[in-house]
């Protein structure tokens, strides 16, 4: 049976065109940014783990700490989504399940990242 579709129409929508390296670059650049951010965050958890609420608020309310927390939250959720996306694409082969899982993960990443960002901003501006 002769296919009536052109080769271009059969591959369209199945993969990237011209943006194939964007995912790769984003993952590496966020990884690079997270080397200092992750080390700072571990040091913060180590020192702030036993803190009471007032001490934590005083710490998180400073512009430098709030700024680093915002960078950490946005970079972490972006990097995390990029990684989970590859895992899903590797193991979930059913097209509908794959798309559904990816949409769910993307939505969850955005919701949690936004929630974290708003929490940090509210601590920064309420002093």
């Amino acid at each position: 049976m002769k296919a009536m579709r052109t080769p271009a129409s059969r591959v369209r929508g199945l993969g990237s065109a011209k943006t194939g390296t964007q995912h790769w670059w984003s993952q590496r650049l966020t990884a690079l940014a997270m080397i200092p951010l992750a080390l700072w965050f571990v040091a913060s958890v180590v020192t702030m783990a036993g803190a009471d609420h007032a001490a934590f608020r005083a710490w998180a309310g400073s512009p430098v700490v709030a700024g680093l927390l915002l960078l950490l939250i946005v970079t972490t959720f972006y990097h995390g989504y990029l990684g989970l996306q590859v895992v899903v694409e590797d193991y979930v082969h059913h097209e509908v399940w794959k798309l559904g899982t990816l949409l769910l993960l993307k939505a969850a990443s955005i919701v949690f990242a936004l929630t974290g960002v708003l929490a940090v901003l509210s601590m920064l501006f309420s002093g």
Binding site: M34, G50, A51, A54, L72, G80, V120
Partner: protein, 129 residues
């Protein structure tokens, strides 16, 4: 008669002898997924602090429990592993360290770094408590 594919085949995991290289590779992915779940704890932490003293005390109480400590231990080890092995990956991305001997050397270095950094973080953390 069917023509055989000339493409390289993925190894069959059931008959493939586990090696440091393949074990560290899959471990990078497993720790990545685990850390993605850990970001929920990070969100809970800042949201609780923004909400008020009671919510913050509840989250701190959970982190201070046995389950919380176990999660924190797993989380810290996973983070140091993913961080160290991620740096190893960045060197590969830049084109360095592909000789088999170096791949094994950096692999063992990642394991040692994970152990030392996790231990260090916990010793300092527990002293500061």
């Amino acid at each position: 008669m069917t023509t055989r594919s000339e493409r390289p085949l993925s190894p069959h995991l059931q008959v493939y002898r586990p090696q440091l290289t393949s074990a560290l590779s899959i471990f990078h992915r497993i720790t990545g997924v685990f850390l993605a779940l850990g970001t929920l704890l990070l969100t809970a932490w800042v949201v609780a602090a923004a909400t008020g003293p009671e919510a913050f005390a509840a989250v701190q109480g959970f982190i201070g429990s046995i389950l919380g400590y176990l999660l924190l231990l797993g989380w810290s080890a996973a983070l140091f592993y993913h961080l160290a092995n991620g740096i190893r990956h960045l060197f590969w991305d830049a084109g360095y360290g592909f000789e088999l001997a170096n791949v094994y050397r950096s692999g063992y270095a990642v394991l040692i770094a994970t152990g030392v950094l996790t231990l260090l973080a916990w010793v300092i953390g527990l002293i500061l408590q």
